[in-house]
Subunit: 153 residues, 2 copies
DNA sequence: AGATATTTGTTCTATATCGAACGTTCTATA
DNA sequence: TATAGAACGTTCGATATAGAACAAATATCT
């Protein structure tokens, strides 16, 4: 009788709860205009503005269908602008708007608060170890995905 | 300058990839009729059949809205049956059908295969340590959710 | 140069998820 | 015992997600 592993289930549930708690925090901080998922799309842009669709897709680890949809939402809400490239007219670049830059700082506050909650029962050493595992696992899964030609990598 | 933590992002992405890989495995094993999410709902039932909506909700960690929706799907597909309780007519019990019991074994095969892939770069000791962290984290988040009266706990 | 193949981002369809509003049934209270 | 309140599961509306099909643009091959 093999030992029952449940990493997948645990991860799924942790993610669900975190998302809910995070969205709740956003509400508490009056950041209703932005969701956790939208934050994840903007995060790479906050680190480097004006990047290509492909780069953003890679950083946010989303399928192109999802990213396109999220960009629709963000553009409607006035957070980003799509800019068609001149050299290759198939491609677009994504730029933050001024409106967005105001949000950024507030979002970071929430993000920090979230990390506090997330790791409140963990020591520094444990966090490092845990995130080390997570990173190894993610890399390994990305590898598997590539081998199986899954699309959204 | 605070150290940048990214547990939330890592977890979200690990979960996304696992889900895709898992759904792909289900396809490979000709288990098209069931999805990863459906499996997660049936898993508690495989351990103990004929449990209440509330117990299943607790075990699967889903909101009642989502569970109701998933039960619709599973009932349509002939995997489960809702049974209205006689004592308390508000409540229902969930029962597996014969059809489902055939699936179960196949599903476990896929599940084991998934665990193999998931942990292929981890030693036994590391898996135990990692899942220990995950369980602690999940418990801690459940605690936070309760304190904030989030609904789907 | 022209034909074919590939790449890019969008759109369509389906799934899973949640919160809020709802009707039904049970419980407690006045 | 009648009624107000609570609990239960469903339904509705919205969000985030991916795969497949698509049109436009570019690259490759003969």
């Amino acid at each position: 009788m093999e030992k029952l592993r449940e990493g997948g289930f645990l991860i799924t549930k942790i993610r669900q709860l975190s998302q809910q708690i995070f969205n709740n925090l956003l509400k508490d901080y009056n950041l209703n205009e932005i969701s956790a998922a939208q934050g994840r799309v903007m995060f790479p842009l906050w680190q480097k503005d004006n990047i290509s669709f492909q780069e953003l897709k890679r950083k946010a680890l989303l399928s192109k269908a999802t990213l396109s949809y999220m960009l629709d939402k963000l553009e409607e809400a006035g957070h980003i602008k799509r800019i068609r490239s001149e050299e290759d007219k198939r491609t677009i670049n994504i730029k933050l708007t001024k409106k967005n830059k105001v949000l950024q700082e507030k979002y970071f506050q929430v993000s920090n608060k979230m990390n506090e909650i997330f790791y409140k029962d963990f020591s520094e050493k444990e966090i490092n170890e845990f995130e080390g595992y997570l990173r190894r696992l993610l890399d390994s899964l990305i590898q598997v995905s590539k081998e199986n030609k899954l699309k959204n990598i």
